[in-house]
Symmetry: C2
Subunit: 760 residues, 2 copies
């Protein structure tokens, strides 16, 4: 299925999830399914967070999980808890995050106790107090090692974990997603109550080279004494209204302007709080506003940390500086000041790097200690269906991390994995952002209808399909609302990210495969025509046969329930295979098929082809199967790479294996190729309509290692993503443009067929 | 004259100068001598200083000077004024220092106006306000260049300007007096309201490489808001009573002890003010004591500056870090924290360097801009008779700087000027400190009596000798009191320093030459015996003659009004030349004369000898003259190096020239040598009973450059100082031990004669 295509666009504002879903959640919390304690602990976690979650009271039917491990990082100011839950139904699990003020350590312990109440625990937690209260086995881990392991894990595994910040740019957050590039050496500046500066040179080697006692504790301590604010967020809120120049002495206050001889601007702070002492003693305590004091102190602490970090980076010749710790907490002024300080002192050569999971590095690292292999395995994917905001804004929000059985790795045939970026469209343009968010909003209602139509009677945890569908709709619309306001809230906004988030929300509400019925119907219908189609093709001269097979692939790829434009045609019964063929345009500039054809007709035999498949029904059965069968006939081994997990009407690896059995019953050649092992199906590891080739399953990587041809089919995999991807072997990309935005961007018309061929 | 010898010791506590001299001052201020405005302005200066001067109301008859130049350094918090005064009677002048809070700039301007009232001004001051009010020519100077020029000047020219600080040592201040060693490169960390960090690589080249807005303004600003203290000194006073661990979170508070793996002690501050936020919000504002807050903030700012300074030094490979600016103001906790930070971060490899004139670098540098040659000429000597304390303690007190016509330089025959130190005794032992302070205290009364006896009727500025003598006595005794309490208050305590200070106080009270009459009587008496003595010597065989000449030098050196022990004999009429000869012991270990004699008898002819002479009377006429005449007879040119300015009964160059005229009238050989220019007198540039060979007059250096023999005579020049000095030519040191302490220290008995001979 190709996602998100549409011939038009519209904007529908989603209903507030805070109210709508709260109502929906009420009966669920009263119901007595097997995991009520988890639901309760989830509730406890939410109530103790300083940052309220707008989606916090949404019904969570997919949370029927047991707690496998708890890791705690107790700092001077905050205690951070990471807990890992496993579902009895699936292989992997998910990592959850929350934090408490350390002064409220009892709340934290009570929370952990509530997590443990009905669960076996293999957790590692710190401090005697916890041991006494909880009676569990405790293992104290080295703080610095935990921080580093946590960072290495997150930077390597989590999409858009790292970003830079600059308030002068329209998109203040710039994500640094080159996860495959060299990580070491780097400087980790962990800002908790105090600051540690750690030089990390490999997974095993690090040194705490510096630090400063001027950290979060200093800011919050002084602000406690100087303002009426009671907690962090009040302080940060106050600081937004302040103007430091009412408190600080600027270079211009002393010199009357710039001091160019030594390179100081008039607006540079010469002396923090320098205007206070210049004021007559009697007026000092009444004259200065707390908001001005707050922002001055925030600048003071942030600037100072930035300067000391830069000086250490300079002394050690390091160019990557990560800032972490709850001092930052996604607060724009803080990040901007740290960024400015690093940029100022390095004369623009170094940028401050931030992490979305900044506050959880220590707890994350502690979690990884029990299963160190996890730190190197790439088996986690971030699920944003339940987000946790880091500050009042959604900047740097984090989701739970979901582990599955895969160990992801870079697809071995990818050329230049260092510079590879899956996504084609740059959605930094606000117009494009609105367009895609609106498109998915418009699509939402139809998706809910399909869910209702096909999954009637499938109540989960005693909650009806109707209830779950309504909650899903509200949940996803709420996310779209957040993204409308802050497009980079969950990492860089991409078409892929929007589609993945929709899948995550569906699964969260227990809709593991909404299109299951649609796919079965489509597969059954197409399977009935397979024999005739193969006979027709076999009767053609080879050149015509190749042309016909490409036409079928393109026509099959029209059957796309993810595309709004195609959806309308399907619903109106306007699309049969013949119509589809007629509708697909064939502009020369997107048609490299003649080159591929010439190569094949010239007698070139590929040893092994990997074909990334797309939709169920006509697409796979009329489009892909005949082409695969042709390649097999020339001597090529064929690997069909299909989604491991369901996404829209995309065929899954499991479903595709069943199709091959059925096809084999109708065609001896296919049956023979399957039984000889020359036609195989592998799961890509993905559950997305798009394709990120840095996260291929190990199984796929193994099968693909000796291939000499890559075929990628469908708009999601070959246009929205991988349009620019290059391979070390011959590559074919086949798809139909079914979205007007991306068509316009790439110079195509709607329904143009594309067959790109790039020799190795 | 040999200073400070005594056969016993006693302690007399001086009367409080604050009261005693205040009475004496009253009539002077009412009198109408030519410089009343200066006296008034002096008064104004004192009243506006934050640090009161205990000696501030002492009568100052030597202050009849005109203001030649004013330099002002206006910082964010303080305005520093340096003004140069010239006496109509002398060639040089003196540099005076004072400071104002910048918020009271009007007081500062009024003070400058009062300085100008009756004076022509060639000053350079800053800011339009001053120009408007004062109507004087103003030239704005570059702040950084002024700071650097000021520092270079002070470090090169002023004794014991530079010190390190460590409160764990019994003597917290360790002076770094290697003024001749390489100055560049260094880091100047100037801490005013903000902090500038300047890398200085030569007199002309520098770069502001860093800085921080966390400076004095930050400390004082925050303390203004958080404590009841109204000014700097109250804040520093409060901080002395505080304990930062009540406010700061220590490493031990988090980890329960040390964190050895990353090298952090349990007592290290992990988070400044980190305990505040951990306290329940309602208690925060009442729980923390202002003294604890004050010391925590002081640590915070000082530690941070130290750390940033070290990181910059490290990045630029610099090992000398000077701290300057009024933030330090001789405050022990501040200096200790900066020192600790530098030592901590550099792992003990670098020490923080402080300057006694720390706050005046900018004003000093501005002063030097009108006469840049001064910055390189070494013509200033520090006069401690009027001290200005930098903080409540006397640590780092500064005197005025006196300029004379000399351009001092290193004596060219000195070997290893890099490691040369004039002073022999290490007075870091408190017992020795007490001994010498007591000895000079006991001597004081006799000195006053001599002044009264010989200078009757010599009223200056309408003030009688009696009044002036009393004020001198109180003034010097007050200084001794300060030094008893803080021996290093005026730089490292040395015998030389104590003697120089006495001379400075005498001159300050108009006693330019107390022993003038004594010296004339002694010279006249000895001159009458010269003809007979020379005839006797000429009749002797050469070997006996040489022995006799040494005996006469040693006996003559007994006539020493500076020695308490000898003084008593002289007063009782017990010392004639014969008695003196008999009294001098001749232990072999101090008698290298045989070697010198053998060299001379062996026919060695010195080309030129420089003889540093000592006392008037028998010493110069019976001791030195015959020996010089002998050397001249062998073909040696003789340079007699005598004090330029009077000190006790030491012969001055002027007096010595008169003696040569008289001696020439009695002895044709002497007359011939003088007229042929082979016997010359040069002023050493000094007015001290001791001798600092790094500060020889340019005239002496010129005459000495081609000499091949150096003779140093007297306890002050050859024992208290230069006992260990080495020369690149043959050197003879002749003296008598007339002080039991130094005799014991060097293994001699009282009245042992010394004649050391060191071949080149």
């Amino acid at each position: 299925m190709d996602p998100g295509s549409s011939s038009g666009s519209g904007s529908t504002s989603g209903a507030g999830a805070g109210t709508g879903s709260g109502d929906a959640a009420s009966p669920a919390q009263g119901s007595a399914h097997g995991s009520s304690s988890q639901l309760n602990t989830q509730g406890a976690a939410i109530s103790t967070r300083e940052d309220s979650q707008e989606t916090s009271d949404i019904l969570l039917p997919n949370q029927e999980e047991n707690i496998a491990q708890i890791a705690v990082d107790i700092g001077g100011s905050l205690a951070k808890v990471v807990w890992f839950t496993k579902s009895p139904e699936t292989v992997g699990g998910r990592l959850n995050f929350c934090k408490f003020e350390t002064v409220r350590i009892d709340d934290c312990i009570e929370f952990i106790a509530s997590l443990l109440r009905d669960n076996p625990l293999a957790g590692r937690v710190i401090k005697d107090k916890i041991r006494t209260r909880l009676g569990v086995q405790i293992q104290k881990e080295d703080e610095m090692e935990c921080l580093i392991n946590g960072l290495n894990f997150l930077v390597r595994q989590i999409d858009y974990e790292v970003f830079t910040y600059d308030e002068r740019r329209p998109e203040t957050m710039q994500f640094d997603n080159q996860r495959t590039s060299e990580l070491f050496p780097y400087l980790l500046v962990n800002i908790g109550s105090g600051v540690s500066i750690i030089k990390v040179t490999s997974d095993e080697t690090y040194e705490r080279i510096s630090g400063t006692s001027l950290g979060g504790g200093t800011l919050w301590g002084l602000l406690s004494l100087l303002t009426d604010a009671k907690d962090y967020d009040e302080m940060l809120e106050i600081s937004k209204m302040g103007d430091n120049k009412n408190v600080d002495m600027l270079v211009g206050d002393i010199y009357g302007g710039d001091y160019p001889k030594i390179g100081l601007k008039g607006t540079t702070i010469a002396s923090s709080f320098g205007k206070v002492f210049k004021t007559p003693a009697a007026e000092r305590k009444s004259k200065f506003k707390q908001e001005d004091i707050a922002v001055s102190l925030l600048y003071l602490v942030s600037n100072n940390i930035g300067q000391i970090a830069y000086l250490n980076a300079q002394a050690h010749g390091i160019r990557r500086i990560y800032f972490s710790g709850f001092f930052i907490r996604g607060h724009p002024i803080t990040m901007n000041t740290l960024s400015y300080a690093i940029s100022f002192w390095s004369k623009g050569k170094i940028k401050a790097l931030f992490l979305r999971h900044e506050g959880y590095l220590g707890a994350m690292g502690a979690f990884l200690r029990t299963t160190p292999a996890r730190a190197r395995l790439a088996s986690f994917t971030e699920n944003f269906s339940q987000t946790q905001k880091i500050s009042g804004s959604s900047i740097g929000a984090v989701g739970t991390l979901e582990e599955d059985a895969s160990d992801y790795c870079v697809f071995p045939l990818l050329r230049d994995p260092e510079t590879y970026s899956a996504d084609t469209s740059d959605l930094s343009d606000p117009v494009l952002q609105s367009y895609w968010i609106d498109l998915l909003d418009v699509n939402l209602e139809h998706l809910v209808n399909i869910a209702l139509k096909w999954q009637q009677g499938d109540a989960r945890g005693g909650i009806s399909v109707r209830e779950r569908a309504k909650t899903f709709e509200n949940m996803y619309r709420e996310h779209l609302k957040v993204l409308r306001k802050e497009p980079n809230a969950y990492g860089a906004l991409t078409v892929r990210g929007l589609l993945n988030l929709r899948e995550q929300c569906l699964r969260e509400m227990g809709f593991m495969d909404v299109f299951r019925g649609v796919k079965q119907d489509e597969n059954n219908a197409a399977m009935q025509g397979l024999e005739i189609l193969l006979a027709k093709l076999d009767a053609m001269p080879i050149s015509d046969r190749l042309d016909a097979m490409l036409e079928n692939m393109l026509a099959g790829n029209m059957y796309d329930w993810g595309s709004t434009a195609v959806q309308e045609m399907l619903k109106r019964g306007e699309l049969d295979f013949r119509t589809a063929k007629a509708k697909v345009g064939r502009p020369a500039k997107f048609n490299h098929f003649p080159q591929l054809k010439a190569k094949l007709l010239g007698g070139h035999v590929y040893k092994k082809a990997v074909i990334f498949v797309d939709n169920s029904g006509a697409d796979i059965i009329f489009g892909i199967l005949p082409f695969a069968r042709f390649l097999l006939s020339t001597g090529t081994t064929v690997v069909l790479a299909a989604n491991t997990h369901p996404a829209v009407n995309d065929i899954t690896a499991t479903e595709l294996r069943e199709i091959l059995v059925q096809a084999g019953s109708k065609d001896a050649a296919i049956a023979s190729h399957v039984s000889s092992g020359r036609l195989v199906v592998v799961g890509t590891g993905s559950g997305s309509p798009c394709l990120d080739l840095t996260r291929a399953s190990r199984d796929l990587a193994t099968h693909a290692a000796d291939a000499d041809l890559v075929v990628i089919e469908g708009m999601g995999r070959a246009i929205h993503t991988n349009y620019a991807a290059k391979f070390v072997v011959d590559a074919v990309k086949v798809a139909v443009f079914k979205n007007p935005q991306v068509a316009a961007e790439l110079g195509a018309d709607m329904y143009d067929g594309m067959c790109l061929f790039a020799p190795a």
